[in-house]
Amino acid sequence: MGGVVLKKVFKNFGKTEVVKGIDLEILDGEFIVLVGPSGCGKTTTLRMIAGLEEVTAGNIFIDAENVTDVPPKDRDIAMVFQNYALYPHMTVRENMEFALKIRKVSRVLMNERVAEASEILGLTPYLHRRPKELSGGQRQRVALGRAIVRQPKVFLMDEPLSNLDAKLRVQMRGELKKLHEQLKTTFIYVTHDQVEAMTLGTKIVVMNDGIIKQFDKPLKVYEHPQNTFVAGFIGSPAMNFFDGIIRAKKDSYIFENKDFALTLPKELSTEFKKVINKEVILGIRPEDIVDYGKAVRKKYTDQKITAKIEFAELLGAQTYIHVSISGNFLAEVDPGFEFKIGQEIELGVRLTKMHLFEKSTLNAII
């Protein structure tokens, strides 16, 4: 077991910079999830930790040992690949045993570990089969099993669940979580599915364009995104953004744009002071924009915004309505709420849950 530290890690493929200076400190036993849009360098980062990709600049430490120039076979890590990469000519048992055989582990110990791992993963009935004769989910579990029997310092996983159907994915997610609790080994897990990221990670790393945008606990990332990228990326449906300006008026602060003006909560005044008369971006999640009646009932606000309903998405548990003033945004109403497309609606904003970003840097103010 061990922690993983990346210090100013860069990676170029030829002239294109893919990873641009990553600093990351992962403690022993953490379950870290790397998320980000496609092509942001998650896989590349993971492969550098595994040693499958050379580092252009910077250093990587595993268990306090500098492994930057250590070949993958000596790093004592296990990796689960997106397409499983099971050895096609070996049975499930042989697949799991391969790494142990290379390490010259005794037969007795090997049997013990394979039995243990296949018990955890429910693979015992399939030990004699070849990968070809397994379903996608079973192959997935073999790939996990191959990693588990190793008892490595770090598990690396690259979108291991992306090939599974929705139901199996949820189930495997649960199993992974259990596995982590049992083994207490460091996991580094790549995905672009933010639900996976939120549910699995003890901490998540949000990446974009080769840079870490935020590294924090899942709830922290959701509630306090450090910049507009994280705010827009984490959370589904995505956060609404409104451009505008903060103005001081008597003893209160106002967010103002051409569509509406909102008096901001007093508790946060110290923050607003810094950006008076500056351009800002107000971020509010759809679930914090509700119909005015509900907003008043729940004591969110007493201010109204009027907008036109463009269309609606009925998801059963809740209803999202796409509304417009001059720009479009998304609001959430209760499933029973009655409305007509094209009608004007009065909305209330839960301003205690607001996010505010500086327009120039896109970084969070609160």
């Binding site: 040693g51 076979k73 050895y87 391969f98």
Partner: protein, 356 residues
């Protein structure tokens, strides 16, 4: 447009067939109509005529092709069991009236078939194994590693495929008649005042073929390297990476993961190489100038002495039959091996996308 039109046509036909079948069913169920009406419904239809015509056409085609391809073999096999009387008797065409195994016995005993078979098997086997491994290693290198001049080197490999090997006859002969490695040995010999002969004459030994095979320069090895490279290109890199992460180095990965999973491909290369070496006369004639190393092709195709005295020389058809029997005996082991390896072979050929 075309597609939908043809689809509609097909649908129509299908409907017709269904209707007819339903009619037959109904008729059968009622069992009122007489037998002949039933038959009429069944056989006196355009549909049935079409089907019948197609069956006949297919049969004729198959028989025709089989005749062209198989007849020479059938006639040779039947000829090999004939005795001299059969060739005098004009009523004998394909089936012998006086069957005998004498021809086989004579060839096997007089021409030392088993000795030749053993030697050729050893030679072909050694060549095939070493070519298979060498070409796999070279192909793997070309497929998975980056190194300088890779492109140019691969073009050179392709060139060995293109250059007709007959043009190399003399230079190959001279190379192995006066063999040396870039004159190094000769230089050392000169240095110590010995007679400068280099490594010397390698003809009439297995060495020339072994050296060519181990360096991937033997007959068609360019093709084998190409086949293997294509195959390895199709092997996902993740597989090797998984092995690296599992703690295996490059060599272990190659030996324990890549080679075992390439068995169909390796068998294919082995079979090609084996059978080409088996039926090769170019290299064997070139490198085995005396008959001491007794190999199948150059040596057993001759009229056995015990048959020679009787008729053979005077009766052309008989002589031909004897020679054909020699040919059959040369072919037989290869055919047997192909039969055994057929399944893996087909798989391999399919994967390589290359035939013959």
């Amino acid at each position: 447009m075309d597609m939908t039109a043809s689809n509609k046509k097909k649908e129509k036909e299908l409907k017709k067939i269904q209707q007819r079948e339903e009619a037959i069913k109904r008729i059968k169920a009622q069992e009122k109509l007489p037998f002949w009406t039933l038959m009429k419904y069944k056989f006196l239809t355009l549909y049935f005529a079409k089907k019948l015509l197609w069956i006949i056409f297919r049969l004729v085609l198959l028989i025709g092709i089989s005749y062209v391809i198989l007849f020479p073999y059938v006639s040779k096999i039947s000829g090999s069991f004939m005795s001299p009387q059969d060739f005098v008797d004009t009523s004998v065409k394909l089936i012998s009236k006086y069957p005998t195994l004498d021809t086989y016995k004579a060839i096997i005993n007089d021409n030392q078939y088993y000795k030749a078979l053993f030697n050729t098997t050893v030679l072909s086997g050694l060549c095939a194994v070493s070519q298979m491994l060498t070409c796999a290693i070279i192909g793997y290198g070309f497929s998975k590693f980056k190194f300088r001049f890779k492109g140019i080197l691969f073009v050179l490999v392709i060139l060995t495929m293109i250059i007709p090997h007959d043009t190399l006859q003399l230079s190959l002969f001279m190379k192995f008649r006066f063999f040396d490695i870039w004159g190094i040995v000769m230089g050392v010999q000169k240095l110590f005042g010995a007679s400068a002969t280099g490594i010397g004459n390698l003809l009439n030994s297995y060495w020339p073929l072994a050296i060519l095979s181990l360096t991937g320069l033997a007959f068609k090895n360019g093709l084998f390297i190409y086949i293997m490279r294509q195959y390895f290109n199709g092997v996902p890199d993740e597989l090797e990476e998984a092995a690296y992460v599992d703690g295996a180095g490059v060599l272990k990965t190659f030996v324990r993961i890549i080679l075992p999973m390439s068995v169909p491909m390796l068998v294919t290369v082995f079979m090609f190489s084996f059978s080409w070496q088996w039926s090769d006369t170019f290299y064997t004639n070139l490198f085995f100038t005396d008959t001491k190393t007794f190999l199948l092709l150059p040596n057993i195709v001759s009229i056995p002495s015990s048959l020679d005295t009787q008729f053979a020389a005077k009766m052309i058809p008989y002589e031909e039959a004897i020679r054909n029997t020699c040919g059959l005996l040369i072919l037989a082991p290869i055919v047997l091996i192909y039969l055994f390896a057929q399944r893996t072979l087909i798989e391999g050929v399919e994967r390589s996308g290359i035939t013959g």
